[in-house]
Subunit: 203 residues, 2 copies
């Protein structure tokens, strides 16, 4: 009885991921459980394991989808912008995503693989692809810099913007009279790039 053959495997996977995304968006990663997911889609626990290896697998696949939609927005923000504007646009778009899709964005970083199990490459690839966007724009901005310098700067800035977002939401660094994270980010980018585009050699 129940739902037998109502959905293909792919459909089951899709509605399960949608239910998971809904639960996370509403209550955060902690509000996600296998039983709640199947409760939402009218199946029983066992059926989840036909489509996902386990809950971690489901979360990873959900996080990959989040990364894909983030990447799409970043790409749209760059468009045909000149490099300096593109870099600002990347940062502001990342912030906007974090502000609007807070729980789903947080889930990417909150989830940890069980002890010893590595993060799947399919996910790290997507993070790397996103990071490459920043690196490309930085290379356009400073064409005479060595690839090593560019990579270092891209990592410093990407991590920096991410850190501002993470601590901004943590309540844990909610400064009294604190400026909005957009301002902090602009300060980071402008001052770093002022220093970076000016000094020709790495220290």
């Amino acid at each position: 009885m129940g739902r037998r053959n109502e959905h293909t495997r792919e459909e089951l996977r899709e509605i399960a991921l949608q239910a998971a995304e809904h639960l996370v968006a509403e209550h955060g990663l902690a509000g996600l459980s296998t039983r709640k997911v199947v409760g939402h889609i009218g199946y029983t626990v066992g059926s989840l394991y036909m489509v996902f290896r386990n809950l971690d697998d489901l979360i990873v696949q959900m996080n990959e989808r989040t990364l894909e939609s983030l990447q799409a927005r970043l790409l749209a923000a760059i468009a045909d912008q000149p490099p300096a504007a593109a870099i600002q646009a990347l940062a502001q778009t990342y912030i906007t995503f974090a502000l609007t899709e807070t729980h789903r964005w947080l889930a990417i970083y909150q989830h940890r693989m069980p002890e010893g199990q590595p993060v799947p490459e399919s996910l790290t690839d997507k993070v790397a692809g996103m990071f490459a966007l920043a690196q490309q724009q930085l290379a356009r901005l400073c064409p005479r810099r060595s690839p090593e310098d560019i990579a270092l700067a891209a990592r410093a800035l990407w991590s920096g913007v991410h850190g501002i977002c993470i601590l901004g939401f943590d309540q844990k660094l909610e400064m009294a009279g604190g400026r909005p994270i957009q301002d902090v980010t602009r300060s980071l980018l402008d001052h770093y790039l002022a220093g970076f585009t000016q000094s020709p050699y790495e220290i």
Copy 2:
């Protein structure tokens, strides 16, 4: 039977926190549970609730202890250093702490209060105190800057260094041929400060 009256309330609290710290250091925050804690100290579950309101309360108190020992190391690193060196020392000490006490340090940011409950002030105060160290050194370095500029710069740099650490451990941004996080941090600080100490006005 059991352990009745073997420990005062304060002693019970202490050994419970020590057991929790040991479990987290060994297996991460996910490896912590009330039953494992009491298993280590020879009590039963119920007794934990004499000393802590619940597991979240225990974790918060554990995280506050971690922040205290981090703050102590940061203070020692500053010593009588001139401001520029003090800022570098703060960053490198933060990194070293994250590298050596990885799981306990991660637990500070991994733990989230249940929906709606705010982070206790006792914890946010300790984070703010730590952050103030950076702000003070920055004010010494740039005495003519407005307090607003200093606060903005302190937040950009603190968040930046934190972001570099977080993404560095996440495996999620483990760049191929990536430079050690110490180098990325130095790049962030040097270039930002080069830009910051030079431009007299905020954009």
